[in-house]
């Protein structure tokens, strides 16, 4: 028998099993880690040791209350965002913040303090969370909010599940004017054009995100498509609700060589030229707008059995166009080019103690795991440190602890919170062992 393993979205496994059940309180005794749908790419949701008790929350998925006047929703932590979307979009409510996939749980959204296309106006998910019910390391069940045990609350928001297990989430939903998106897509021929366009559009559009082509060479490197959107007004939207896409799967693992420099270059070129017009305007359904990659379930199999990670970092506004320029150059030089490179301008840093975004520009690029992945990550991290940026723990598997400490000056504050709420560091993950010096013994 092969040893059972768990893995994140990047498919790099770690020995361990998860316990599933509806009653999180009953399951939480002795638990070292909660995980939702395992959509973090790296080792955030993986056990530090194969014998660690890991609880999978996804069966704890009940909506506890919803106030249709105020839009305040309370639910169990395992509720899947897709479930929430399908339940509430037709009624004119949407999650205040959504990541790029809807196959995440509410608890995971809090623990990663996820951000989305509206970060420049709405901040992260945690900014809209009103309260949490948590199970602490010693087994106590407590509630916390921005006004009650606020330090615990803001530590848990973006705290990667390390301050306490999240049992319930109360969040302020957002009113939407229809279930359609009024969208404008703009093709931009160079990185500098792209960067100024995305910043300019932030003032007019509540949702923006860009895709750039790092496979192009010379002046064209970093050309891309900038997508801008807002919820369509009832007068602009079709009267009927948008149809749901039929599920497609990738039935097999593609061979490791399927994504190689040639196919990646071809994919990027095709993607760039799929829009021939400089500007394209239209009304689209919410699902392809927010979740284009969800269209193919299991798309992570495209990277083959070797697995992959995503390198996502944010550079502060002060590092400017030159900062992003130099990062893109280094990526291209080191061969870190992927089919999908996503760029997003971020608004102000949130209150979550380890929350990822800061005011500036974020870049995300998928990378296959190969012999160079460690040194590639190191070289990129060195530049990010130099430029005053930081990386996103939810995507990470290869950052060194000294690099993370140099990037995130808030780390001592997070350690203080752990000292207060979990002095024996009972709650841990493979990532907390790698980055935060937790022991994998005991």
């Amino acid at each position: 028998m092969t040893e059972p393993t768990l893995s994140g979205w990047g498919r790099l496994p770690a020995p361990g099993t998860e316990n599933l059940g509806e009653n999180l309180v009953r399951l939480s005794g002795e638990a070292r880690l909660f995980r939702g749908l395992g959509r973090s790419y790296g080792d955030s949701s993986l056990p530090a040791d194969a014998t660690d008790r890991v609880i999978g929350t996804r069966l704890a998925n009940r909506i506890l209350s919803f106030d249709s006047e105020t839009g305040v929703l309370r639910a169990e932590a395992g509720l899947c965002l897709r479930d929430l979307n399908l339940t509430f979009i037709q009624r004119g409510w949407f999650t205040p913040v959504t990541p790029g996939t809807q196959f995440v749980t509410l608890g995971g959204m809090v623990a990663s303090d996820v951000h989305g296309k509206n970060h420049h106006i709405a901040g992260c998910f945690g900014a809209h969370v009103r309260a949490l019910r948590m199970c602490l390391a010693d087994g106590d069940i407590v509630s916390c909010s921005p006004t009650e045990r606020a330090d615990l609350f803001w530590g848990a928001v973006g705290g990667m599940g390390l301050l306490g297990h999240i049992l319930e989430v109360e969040v302020q939903m957002q009113r939407i004017s229809s279930s359609w998106i009024q969208m404008e897509s703009e093709r931009l021929g160079s990185l500098s054009e792209f960067l100024s366009a995305i910043q300019e559009s932030a003032a007019q559009w509540p949702m923006t995100v860009g895709w750039i082509d790092l496979a192009a060479t010379g002046k064209s490197r970093g050309r891309g498509l900038l997508n801008k959107g807002r919820w369509a007004l009832p007068t602009e939207a079709p009267a009927h609700p948008p149809p749901l896409k039929k599920e497609k799967r990738l039935p097999i693992d593609l061979p490791n060589f399927a994504l190689n420099p040639l196919t990646v270059r071809a994919f990027n070129m095709a993607y760039y030229w799929k829009q021939l017009k400089k500007k394209s305007v239209g009304v689209v359904s919410w699902e392809p707008f927010f979740y284009p990659l969800d269209a193919i379930l299991d798309w992570n199999r495209g990277y083959g059995k070797r697995g992959f990670v995503q390198y996502q970092c944010v550079l502060p506004r002060a590092s400017g166009v030159q900062g992003m320029q130099s990062l893109v150059e280094r990526l291209a030089k080191l061969g870190g080019i992927s089919p999908v490179t996503v760029i997003k301008d971020c608004g102000a840093q949130g209150q979550g103690v380890l929350s990822f975004p800061m005011e500036g520009m974020s870049l995300a690029v998928d990378m296959p795991v190969n012999a160079e992945i460690q040194s590639l990550t190191d070289r990129l991290n060195e530049l990010v440190i130099e430029l005053g940026g930081r990386i996103y723990l939810t995507k990470d598997r290869f950052t060194r602890p000294e690099h993370f400490a140099a990037m995130d000056r808030r780390l001592p504050a997070f350690f203080e919170l752990r000292q207060k709420w979990d002095p024996n560091r009972r709650l841990r993950s493979a990532q907390s062992v790698r980055l935060f010096g937790d022991s994998s013994k005991g």
């Binding site: 059972p4 316990n19 599933l20 509806e22 009653n23 009940r62 909506i63 506890l64 919803f66 399908l86």
Partner: protein, 247 residues
């Protein structure tokens, strides 16, 4: 539709309640987890596509046959008329545990077979008295063939399947629709800790197929669908093969 679900707080019962609510069915939830019932009812109500619909609930425990009548009375009082009753509640344990614990094995056989039949009889009489209706019961592929890893649990489900087939034959003309659900492996709390075989199903997908079968009155549903073929083959394997394989 007006639907009663026994076993509604967990597993497949929960998934069915959530989906039935989303598509606008009126619901009454039964179960033995008294503290969880109001929470599950609130969940179904929040998901309900119609406004102002209240989801009712009452305690009903397959270990206590005297709880059946009052629970179904409460359901009738709440819904007015019952169109369908879904039974997902049951006990489960691995063969190893059941062999080691004869008392639990007795309990499981009583709940899954004898008491479930008693409950279904109560439902059948009420549905027929009201002019007909649909009875949807979760049996299992485990009841299709005597197999090493599910000897006792499988026997309880074999008996149940047999009973359900018989009442379909007997009462179909009078308006009773019997839908026997034969799930393969579904990733719920019941199977937590077991290694999922190929064709393991997600609760949401299975629930959708069960609701379709209920609407159409499909007599027997294997779900996920590949299990129909798997069991077709297993049922035809000769004894000397069954003695050899672990399945």
């Amino acid at each position: 539709m007006k639907i009663v679900i026994l076993g509604a707080t967990r597993g497949m019962g929960r998934a069915l309640a959530q989906q039935a609510a989303a598509r606008g069915d009126e619901l009454f939830l039964l179960g033995n987890e008294v503290d969880e019932l109001p929470v599950s009812a609130a969940d179904a109500q929040a998901r309900h596509s119609g406004s102002g619909v209240s989801v009712g609930h009452a305690a009903c425990d397959l270990e206590r046959t005297d709880s059946f009548g009052p629970a179904l009375d409460a359901a009738t009082a709440h819904l007015g008329k019952i169109d369908a009753v879904i039974v997902t509640a049951a006990l489960f344990a691995t063969q190893d545990r059941l062999e080691a614990d004869p008392e639990f094995a007795r309990r499981l056989l009583t709940v899954n077979f004898a008491n479930t039949v008693v409950f279904c009889e109560e439902v059948r009489k009420r549905l027929l008295a009201a002019g007909g209706g649909t009875l949807v019961v979760f049996s299992s592929v485990a009841g299709d063939r005597g197999r090493k890893p599910i000897a006792i649990y499988g026997a309880s489900k074999a008996g149940l399947s047999h009973y359900l087939e018989s009442i379909d034959h007997k009462f179909h003309e009078q308006g009773l629709r019997v839908v026997t659900i034969k799930p393969g492996f579904i990733k719920t709390g019941m199977t937590a800790g077991l290694k999922p075989p190929p064709f393991a199903g997600e609760p949401e997908k299975v629930a959708a197929s069960v609701l379709r079968a209920m609407d159409k009155g499909t007599p027997v549903l294997y779900t996920p669908a590949p299990w129909r073929l798997v069991m077709f083959i297993i049922k035809r394997l000769p004894r000397f093969v069954m003695r050899k394989i672990k399945f």
